[in-house]
Each structure stands twice: as structure tokens, then as C-alpha cells.
């Protein structure tokens, strides 16, 4: 079993404190979900785990099986087994999806032990079929001109090809139609097991109908304010966050809504 442990995490963006002491422990063979209103710091948590250059950790720790993750470069974190499916993945001109994936896979392997081209292609074909992706997605430039939903599927394709120990999925369901949602859930469920732990950031219970979480957390104003089982997501879906604000005595902040 592996463990990703976050303790007392404080994170700033451009001098503004967004995370104000987050504690969270995820083991392999567990699926956690984080929900919470817009702008409360869910993506910030995800980016801080991965090591995004604009997010500064000012206090707290992140460890992977005791190893200090914050000491690692972004690529080292990935090779240690952390994966982030981004809310807004970059478009990279001129780099084909397939080349990118192959480089990513080979980055984890020793020099001279690169994945044989044929096995790579076979595996890629199979995963793309699972995700019902068009064949030409492999030869197109990375995310360039991909629709919102296609980008999300492409993130899951990377997840499935790289098979990390821990994946953080940031709003992997937003912009997906209901069929795509099922497909993406199928992809994640394929990975479920002893060697895989997952943190799903979502606004909608719907995704959790397909990927049943072991734990659900609520983040408000930069802190995890409530944790529970799958039933917590259902309650949030029905009642929103107001009852939590009241119960916990948090003053609701006006947050900028996403466009």
C-alpha cells in the first residue's frame, strides 16, 4: 500500500493565501472526492500537489510514502507516481499526442529499456478504443484544437497509459456529455485496485454515480471543512453548501463565478 499525505498545507498565489491548512490522506485502493463552491481552492490543491510554478507552498507538507514531495521537481513527482488530470490542459503545437505519450512513458523507464514501438501502439489503440476516441487523435498535435470534452478524454488517456499510483482528476467531468462521462468513468474504474489511489475534484454527484468514492470531502475557503462517505455527495447535490456554512458558522464569501 502507498500513501499520499497532505498536512497543514498553506498555498499562496501571487501573494494571496488560497489554501489555509489542508489535511488529507489518501491510500492506494481508495477513491476520494473533493467538492466545494467555485474559487475555494480545489484546483490550487491539485496544482500544489503536482508542483505548478505559480503556486507557492508557504507551510505544511506533502509526502508520498514518507518521501518529501515538495522537494521534488515536477517531473520527479510524476515519476514517483503522481498524476494530475488538469482542469485546463495546455495545447502544445507541433508535438503529436502519440510522441508526447511515448516520451512520457519512456521518461519512467531506464535508458535502453524504452517501450517497444509495437507494444506502445497496441496499448494506445486499446485505450483509445476504451475511451471511444477517434484514431486521428493520436497523430494530432497535443490538445491543439481539441474540444473541451476531447481534452478531458485525452487527460484520461494519459492517465491510463501512465498508470500512476495516485491521480488527481480536476473537474474531469465538466464539459462532458453523459455518454462521455460514462466512458471516462470506465477508464478510471479500469485502474481501480490495489495499486491505485485517486482524488476526484468535481461539482457534480453525477460522476460519482459511475465512480463510487470511498470518501467525500468538502472544501470551503481553503480548508477541508467536512468529510464523509458517498452519501455526503448526495446531500450536497440536493441541498447545496448553505447548510454547511450554517452548521460550521462560515460566512459565505462572494466568489467569482466561472464563465
Amino acid at each position: 500500500m502507498s500513501t499520499l499525505e497532505i498536512k497543514g498545507l498553506h498555498v499562496e498565489i501571487e501573494g494571496k493565501e488560497i489554501l489555509k491548512g489542508v489535511d488529507l490522506t489518501i491510500n492506494t485502493n481508495e477513491i476520494h472526492a473533493i467538492m466545494g463552491p467555485n474559487g475555494t481552492g480545489k484546483s490550487t490543491l491539485a496544482q500544489a500537489i503536482m508542483g505548478h510554478p505559480r503556486y507557492e507552498v508557504t507551510a505544511g507538507t506533502i509526502t508520498l510514502d514518507g518521501e518529501d514531495v515538495l522537494e521534488m521537481e515536477v517531473d520527479e513527482r510524476a515519476r514517483a507516481g503522481i498524476f494530475l488530470a488538469m482542469q485546463y490542459p495546455s495545447e502544445v503545437n507541433g508535438v503529436t499526442n502519440a510522441d508526447f505519450l511515448r516520451s512520457s512513458i519512456n521518461a519512467k523507464r531506464e535508458e535502453g529499456d524504452e517501450i517497444p514501438l509495437m507494444s506502445f501502439i497496441r496499448e494506445l489503440d486499446a485505450k483509445m478504443e476504451t475511451l471511444e476516441m477517434d484514431e486521428d487523435m493520436a497523430t494530432r498535435y497535443l490538445n491543439e484544437g481539441f474540444s473541451g470534452g476531447e481534452k478531458k478524454r485525452n487527460e484520461i488517456l494519459q492517465l491510463m497509459m501512465l498508470k500512476p499510483k495516485f491521480a488527481v482528476l480536476d473537474e474531469i467531468d465538466s464539459g462532458l456529455d453523459i455518454d462521455a462521462l460514462k466512458v471516462v468513468a470506465k477508464g478510471v474504474n479500469e485502474l481501480r485496485g490495489e495499486d491505485f489511489g485517486c482524488l476526484i475534484i468535481t461539482h457534480y454527484q453525477r460522476l460519482l454515480d459511475y465512480i463510487t468514492p470511498d470518501k467525500v470531502h468538502v472544501m470551503i475557503q481553503g480548508k477541508v471543512v467536512q468529510s464523509g462517505g458517498a452519501e455526503l455527495a448526495l446531500k450536497l447535490e440536493e441541498q447545496g453548501y448553505d447548510w454547511l456554512h450554517e452548521e460550521l458558522g462560515i460566512e459565505a464569501e462572494t466568489v467569482e463565478q466561472e464563465a
Partner: protein, 435 residues
Amino acid sequence: MTVETKLALTEQDVRSYSEKMNEAAWMTDFRADAFAKLEQLPMPKPDKTRIDRWNFTDFPIHAVESSVYSSLDELPAKARELFDAEKPGSLYIQHNNTPAFLSLSDDLKAKGVILTDIFTATREHGELVKKYYMTNGVKVDEHKLTALNAAFMNGGVFVYVPKNVVIEEPIQALFLHDDEQVSLFNHIIVVAEANSSFTYIENYMSTVANAKGQANIVSEVFTGDNSNVTYGAVDVLSEGFTTYVNRRGVTGRDSQLNWVLGLMNDGNTIAENITHLVGDNSGADMKTVVVGTGKQRQNFTTEIISWGKNTNGMILKHAVVKDESTAIFNGIGKITKGAVGSNAEQESRMLMLSPRARADANPILLIDEDEVTAGHAATVGRVDPIEMFYLMSRGITKTEAERLIIHGFLAPVVDKLKVEGVKKLLTEVIERKVR
């Protein structure tokens, strides 16, 4: 101070060289005429680069004699990769200044296709060569460097594709440089008659790290009515050459001329690529990639001039500069009076890899007609840290991520080179330069 432009050669030297190369007599006189003009002609004035201290005229020796190849096995391995050794197809190889290998299928010969070194062409296809050689394309008296090319020409190739001939396999030329003393005064003529279609790809390859000579290269391309020509080039000439390279196109009605240029010289370079869209409904698509390194200074002028109605000009340039190199990109879209319905577009993308490298995009639109469309876009930037983060978040190291981004940045042009071997070579050259 201006570099002394006194030339080591005399008119008599030029005449005897022509005779030695067994050229047609008209060419001997043509050279002598050009030589006579040399003295008075001014140097070219590339916008935003001062070249009055550059040396374009000194060189150790006018021409050398190098070995010819009886088989492709005799080529250096790097050069062999450019071709399909099993079936070399249509191929001309020049070894320094010596025509060294020629291959053209009987089928193409029977169709009237001509592929031959320029000396032979003046003799065997005199009327044709005379019609196109510095008449309608590049003029002898444009400036000192064009006259220099005319007088001192010591290599080049003549490509002629008759009416209605469509060639699928590219015609390839290799100019192999492996002697420090060598100067290249090459002249290339490519003629596409009506309704023909083909690709010509040339490689300039140095296998010696240093050069003491000059590279003065002139290419003229003529596309007949309704023809379609792609002209690809990968220039990788070694440091020490001061390169002047002038590639010019003139289009006939309904024809299309595509340029795909990988300009990867290691020395200072002045490159000029101009296409005159003369025929109505003709088009030019000019794609250029450049990598500047070290203290290299380079100036690239890309220009499309619309004369005919409904012509279409597209310019795309991607450049990477590092170290202390400087690269100036002059992009000119010109639509003359009467070229109704024409379009001039250009796009320049520059990536700067180090703080002391400089890339300047200098887009110019000169429009003398009302009913036209035109536009330009230019960006000068650095590697995007968010893109880097994305790639690295999949385990890719910083170095490898940078490599992917740079290759990706140049790919839209590199991928247009249709020959795998040439594409591979260009990719390797880029690799070496950006490392």
C-alpha cells in the same frame, strides 16, 4: 571602413574557367559581361542588417576539382541517409564544385524531363537555359552579389519538367561540401511547364567544420500555367562561409509554388526568397524555419509580390534563436495596382531561448489596390512555463520537455518536407543546434 572588394580573378580567368568547364560559348560571354559590371554595382541592402563589413568577395580559390561518385556507397553515411539507396530516383549530387553523380529514370527521360548539371545544360539545352538564366527571375545587375554569381558561377543544376508531366517521387539535389578552400557560386534553374507537377528538394551539407570561402547561391523557379511545384531546401553550411542565398520564383496562370526552407547554416547568412505572382489565380506558399546559434548574424527577406489578379501569397516563418545570435525577418506582402482580388498573408513566430539572443520580425504590407485582403501576425516569445509544467507533469525531464516544445514549434514547417530522409536530417540538425 568598407571591406576591400578588389577581386582576385580577372575577366580572362572567368573566360578560361568557362572554357575548361566546356560550357556553351554564349555562357562564356554572359559571364564576361557580368564581370564587367561587377565593379560599379553596389552591395545589396538587406533591411535592418548592416553588411558593409561583411566579406562576400574574398575567397581562397575559385573552383576545386573533387572526386565523382560511381555509387552512392561512396558518400558519407550522413549523406546516404537522404536517399533511398535501393532506388535513388531522380538525383543530382555535386561534390564541392564538381558534378559527381546523376540519376534519372528512363521513363522520365522519355517524357522529356531534364536533370543535369548547369555546365552541361548550357551546352545540351542551350536555348532553354538561355531563356531562363538570369532573364525573368534574378537579374545580373540587381547588385554586386548577383553579378558575382553570374560571373563566377561554379556549380548548380538544371531541372526541366515538360508540359503535362506529373512526377510523384521528388527530384533531389545534394551539394556536398567537404573542402575548407571551397566556394560555392551555385546557380539552380527549375522550370515547370504547363500542367506539370513535382517536388524538388535540395540539401546543402558540409562535412568539414570550417569554411574559408563564399557561398553565393541563386535559384530561379518558373511555374508554367496550371503547374504545381514544391521547392524544398535544407541548408546546413558550416561556419566560416558568409552566405548569400537568393531563391526567386515567377508564377504562371493558375499555378502554385510552395517553398519549404530549412535555413540552418552555421555562419552569417543573408537569405532572400522572393516570388512574383505574375499569372492570374496563381499562389505562393513560403514556409521557412531557422535556428540561430552562437554569434551568428542572419537576415531573411521573404517577399511575395502580386501582379496577377486573384493571386494568393502566404508567408510563414518559425525561428528559434539562442546564445548571442541575431536574426532579422523582413516579410513583405506587396499587391500592385491591378492585382484585384489578391491576398497577402504572413505570420512570423520567434522563440528566444536565451536573454542575449535577438529575433526581429519586420512585417510590411505594400498595397496599391483596393479590392484585396491582407494580414500579418507576429509573436516573439520564450518557452511557455505552463506548457513546460504540463509536459513535465507527465514525467518528462526539463531538457526533454524543452526539446519537444522546440521541435513542435518548428514542426509545422519541417513536416512539410516530403522526403523522410531529409526530414530526419533537418530534425537532427535542429537537435544539434538547440542542445
